[in-house]
């Protein structure tokens, strides 16, 4: 366990992961109550990745996100209230209700938005990386995408470009084994997405995506490399989507026992155990954190539910800047 990590940072990671988990459970619950329009793609099980990555980033750094983006937002520091309000389609949401679950953005904290077109975020992340290079700042971009997205042409074009131009981008592949109902092996003939880094002359790293510290450290190395001007890194985080793809998916295609196996490797449980074992936190402290998180999320839910829907005519605004 990364001894050099300050206690505060570790606790912060735990808190964020818990926030994401409990947030997603609430979203699930609200969906059941018909309060969430459209569809949802929950991040439960993958929290170590968003948090491990974003713990390396400052407010000025950028991320790009996906249809499964709530966790990315929260990890990057988005306000839970405005996130939840957006998911519920409310005027107070980050996008005034225009985006919804699949299109949350918070440009004030470098969260450049989620795109619901699988793979479309990669070149946008490259563009943010180029912008950093041209503006000569020392920001970083983290680009999240799934293993399914790694079969899109944009994956190839984007990493090739970022490598050729040596841009400060960390490509974070969250390999949760499935793209909707399609198991990885049905869609590609390689086991490790990270091996694809060879095609671009950059490092490709496989990491346990359910171990927040492993993710943290791998990204840290990528960030160092990027800041030295050596270009991007591809980090594959092996993880698991604990729920179905979207709210309607019973996920019957998963082989027996698979879920249980992965639940046993739950990233939050694991971090909690480590924190206790290393005496970083006591049980009481953990309970206190849990209570605080629960309260924070309840506040977010209350805020979101009580917020008004946008007025209809608002639909005609923002087409152009």
């Amino acid at each position: 366990m990364a001894q050099n990590l300050e206690r505060e940072k570790l606790i912060g990671m735990y808190r964020k992961m818990l926030e994401i988990r409990l947030f997603e459970e609430k979203v699930f619950e609200l969906y059941g109550q018909n309060l969430v329009p459209g569809t949802i793609h929950l991040y439960a099980g993958q929290e170590a990745i968003a948090v491990g990555v974003c713990s390396n980033l400052g407010k000025d750094d950028y991320i790009t996100s996906t249809h499964r983006g709530h966790g990315h937002c929260i990890a990057k520091g988005a306000d839970l209230k405005r996130t939840m309000a957006e998911i519920l389609g409310k005027e107070t949401g980050y996008c005034k209700g225009k985006g919804g679950s699949m299109h949350i953005a918070d440009f004030n904290i470098g969260m450049l938005g989620a795109t619901a077109v699988v793979g479309a975020g990669l070149p946008i992340a490259v563009g943010a990386g180029l912008s950093i290079k041209l503006r000569k700042t020392d920001q970083i971009v983290a680009c999240f995408f799934g293993e399914g997205a790694s079969n899109q042409g944009t994956f190839h074009e984007s990493i090739n470009l970022a490598s050729t131009w040596k841009l400060p981008v960390i490509f974070v592949c969250e390999n949760n084994l499935y793209a909707m109902g399609t198991r990885q092996s049905i869609a590609m003939n390689v086991e490790n997405i990270a091996d694809r880094a060879v095609a671009y002359g950059i490092p490709g790293v496989v990491v346990d995506g359910n171990d927040v510290l492993a993710v943290y450290e791998a990204v840290q190395k990528g960030v160092e490399r990027a800041k030295k001007g050596e270009g991007p890194t591809l980090i594959e985080c092996k993880t698991y989507r604990q729920k179905g793809h979207s709210r309607v998916d019973p996920a019957k295609y998963r082989p027996k026992g698979e879920v249980e196996e992965w639940l046993a490797r739950d990233p939050i449980k694991r971090l909690k155990e480590k924190l206790l074992q290393t005496n970083t936190l006591t049980k009481t402290e953990i309970q206190r954190i849990e209570k605080e998180v629960v309260t924070k999320i309840e506040e977010a839910v209350k805020f979101a539910i009580e917020s008004p829907y946008p007025s209809s005519e608002e639909a005609l605004e923002d087409v152009y800047a």
């Binding site: 459209g38 225009k98 299109h103 699988v118 909707m180 295609y253 007025s311 639909a315």
Partner: protein, 324 residues
């Protein structure tokens, strides 16, 4: 006659054509045994025809269409599904520059009998990337036919024609149509391309509408009848080829036309239909040509916003009354 859903009608067409012709096969994301298609159109087909003929693909829209093109020009009859119509943007080169042009570019040597099925349309709050109606893009591309069935009967008959034809077909479905029920004969039939269907006869105003808008137009017509405005609803069923004669025939009778289409107004389906009437039947018109369409915005997520931008019965009634 028995009633089945639009979804079932599509599935029947696929099943019957796959049984009839071994060169027909399906490919697309999650269309196989693990999901059965995002909208369940292909549900059960992998079980009957096997994974070789109902092929799950990676998330690679360009390659899905390109692969279908390659198979089509070498003797197969692929039916490709793009999970959401918005995502055809990713395969635009393969659709518009390859599939549609292969026959022409190679001087008629090659046939490209490929069907691309995809759902368009808003109404389920899935926002800007999953709700568009982009038929007009494909209407603007010569070399590909564009089908827009609005009922289970049309869906089945047109899909069978699409699969049996010798040309690429862009086959538009609509998310809100899948659960709609309608009469569909048990016996075998096909519906030719380029033949509009008058979904309701009327004398005062012609409405040309497509896909889900046909149903809203019919609702509007029923309402207007109570106010003694007799509306004729013409459903072109295919946009390419387009049955101009049927639309003109109706306009010659009514002298008034409202074109209703869910896509963005500017340079959309309704523009072309309006332009045809303005060019070829203006002398029969007693009023301006009205268009009812999406007001040129991306599709917003939140229910009140989305409702506001999708053309509805009220908007149709208003447009009709403005010229009736």
């Amino acid at each position: 006659m028995r009633k089945i859903t639009y979804r079932e009608a599509l599935r029947e067409a696929l099943r019957e054509e796959m049984r009839r012709d071994p060169s027909v096969f399906l490919l697309g994301e999650d269309i196989g045994r693990y999901w059965g298609g995002a909208f369940k159109v292909t549900d059960g087909l992998a079980e009957e025809f096997g994974d070789e003929r109902v092929r799950d693909t990676p998330i690679s829209e360009s390659a899905i269409i390109g692969t279908a093109v390659g198979a089509a020009i070498t003797g197969m009859r692929p039916v490709a599904e793009i999970m959401f119509g918005d995502l055809t943007a990713l395969a635009m080169d393969q659709i518009a520059n390859q599939a549609a042009k292969i026959c022409y570019m190679f001087g008629g040597q090659a046939k490209c009998p490929l069907v691309i099925r995809t759902p368009f349309g808003a109404g389920v709050n899935i926002a800007s990337h999953h709700s568009q109606s982009l038929e007009a893009w494909f209407m603007h591309v010569p070399g590909i036919n564009v089908a827009v069935p609005s009922t289970p009967n049309d869906a089945k008959g047109l899909l069978k024609t699409a699969i049996r034809g010798e040309n690429p077909v862009f086959f538009c479905e609509h998310k809100l149509l899948y659960p709609i029920e309608g009469e569909v004969p048990e016996e075998e039939y096909t519906i030719p391309f380029g033949v509009a269907d008058v979904k309701r006869e009327g004398a005062d105003v012609t409405i040309v509408a497509t896909l889900f808008m046909v149903h809203k137009a019919l609702n509007a017509a029923a309402h207007l009848e109570k106010e003694d405005i007799s509306v004729e609803v013409v459903d072109p069923r295919t946009l390419t080829p387009l049955d101009k004669q049927a639309m003109m025939k109706s306009v010659k009778k009514t002298g008034r036309i409202v074109v209703v289409s869910e896509d963005c107004k500017t340079a959309g389906v309704s523009a072309e239909i309006a332009a045809i009437i303005a060019e070829e039947a203006i002398d029969y018109l007693d009023a301006p040509i009205k268009r009812v369409a999406e007001p040129d915005t991306p599709i917003p997520f939140s229910p009140p916003l989305e409702r506001y931008v999708i053309p509805d019965e009220k908007a149709i009634i208003k447009a009709v009354k403005e010229i009736a």
